[in-house]
Assembly symmetry: C2
Homo-oligomer: 340 residues x 2
Amino acid sequence: MAAMMNYVQRESKSKSGATIYDIAKLAGVNPSTVSRALTKPGRVSEATRERVEAAAAQLNYRANTHARALPTGRTRMLGLIVADITNPSFFDVIRGAETMAASAGYTMLLADAAESATTEATIARRMLSAADGIILASPRMSDAEILELNADKPVVVINRDIAGVTSVVPNVAKGIGEAVRSLGAEGHTSIAYVAGPRQSWMSGRRWDAVREAGERYGLDTRRLDSERPTVEGGRQVAPLVVQSGASAVLCYNDLLALGILRELQATRVDVPGRMSVIGFDDIFGADLVTPALSTVRLPHRDSGVGAMGAMLKVLDDVARPARLEVDTEFVPRGSSGAPA
Amino acid sequence: MAAMMNYVQRESKSKSGATIYDIAKLAGVNPSTVSRALTKPGRVSEATRERVEAAAAQLNYRANTHARALPTGRTRMLGLIVADITNPSFFDVIRGAETMAASAGYTMLLADAAESATTEATIARRMLSAADGIILASPRMSDAEILELNADKPVVVINRDIAGVTSVVPNVAKGIGEAVRSLGAEGHTSIAYVAGPRQSWMSGRRWDAVREAGERYGLDTRRLDSERPTVEGGRQVAPLVVQSGASAVLCYNDLLALGILRELQATRVDVPGRMSVIGFDDIFGADLVTPALSTVRLPHRDSGVGAMGAMLKVLDDVARPARLEVDTEFVPRGSSGAPA
DNA sequence: TTGTAGGCGTTATCAG
DNA sequence: CTGATAACGCCTACAA
């Protein structure tokens, strides 16, 4: 039973059909005139434009995306690849980008790299063949791979800084500086940073910022590694954090922080008395937990909107590759405070 | 400065190029043979297949999606439209569907209807022109509109039951029954249900299930309306819930429940002593709040996987429209318990 | 302003 | 098994 008859009969003529030829016939003009009437406003007389439009509406015509893409090379589709779709921090990025794309008449393709550099590269390649450009949110690929993609079609990266590639990066130093200064003022003298994936450019930047801020405000800093930047990963490093001797911990992201928070509660470690916990991102739920999670907020939505906006500009040839910076800010909540 | 020169020079020949003609030339065969060698295994001699493959690899050939879609009508793209992308309950649906699609070599298009039936319809139309089929997660459109789309190309709906359309629906009666029975056993006698959007088919089903379970286990039930199925919406209805006289509340979704939980805490209403709160979905964060949110868990990931799997089957003509059911289960946590 | 004709990259139908 | 050749639906010089 290899190939069976189509179970559902779809009207192959009436609805799906309707090409510019049908319209041309109905309106009594040449197909090329239909094409112009529908896409090049002003290059056709008002009278015929109306006739064509009416015919198109009557046949409820819908341009074939692929047929259009063939001669022009443009698909009006833009790809977005996120490092890990289960990470809530990407929700707002997705939504911001999607909204922006839709408002410009573009359709967004979404894919998940699942924290793997290789699947990311594969997906990117596939998408690039179907889209006019792609946005990489927190890419795990190497700079070289990204530059190669960018040589093909426009690429915009979020949370990464690559020379020659349009990028949207958060100014992490600001928010982290605020957090560390606040910690110092509260009496902390030694803090830890729990890092994220090794391929994460952002994790490195955040550690740099923590170290710098530590030096500036006179706090001891040390770095711990995590297996995975998830709630579960956070629970796993929690014991190490306690043993580290630090009285406060800054995390690569909120997921890790939430995991640590939870594990500390489970093991009856007082937060923030014995340990202050600070995350990064301000994801959904960060303010819902008890104690509410202190965090360095990232304007994810702005990143998505900014990246897509930059992409659209590049596509319209009105902008060269640029570097957009978005601000971060420390949001103190219940999980951080003076050491007991 | 309408049209300016392209800032970034992309190699229009070397990389993006490479058509089957180039391969044909390099391999010394006809383009049509290349096409066959690359897509119809067995319809070409092993020797030439290898030569073609080698040439393709050398030129790092990548088939043009759009050119391929033209003669075949198939794009290997599948759309997914979610009712509200900011709702975490869709995360797992998205991920499940995306994973399934990717493993079958399909690219997923994602769009957000932002809780609007009209934008949903618009987006669906646009997607349908570019994809082989679409999945509607918690659609807000009318049955008629969906059936119309389905007459054009395969449609699969999640959280909705429409005759003739492949659908994935949760068996809400099970989980809700468990929750209500548990509430009854703990001594509750009067419970409230906070409804979701009026266009939400699921909300109606959940209310039905609550009522039925109430009758079965001898509990009084009443229904309250919410403005929006969000955390904020939950905070707004919280006072009404308290005034309703019920000692337990079941919500259309976790977002509402979380909002209610938070507002009750802010107004010093004891949970669960004075009010038990139960959500629906078991979204990310539900077990992270304090008290942890009791909820009726939905296997979102399975819904996404199931929907995409069904879509792929329909596309392969091996299945007719069907109705898949996924189970729900009551997950008791700290936010519900015996009334004081 | 409008029609004609050629081409975009693939697949599919026929011959050979 | 392989080579021509005609679609697929649309766009765009070029010509009228």
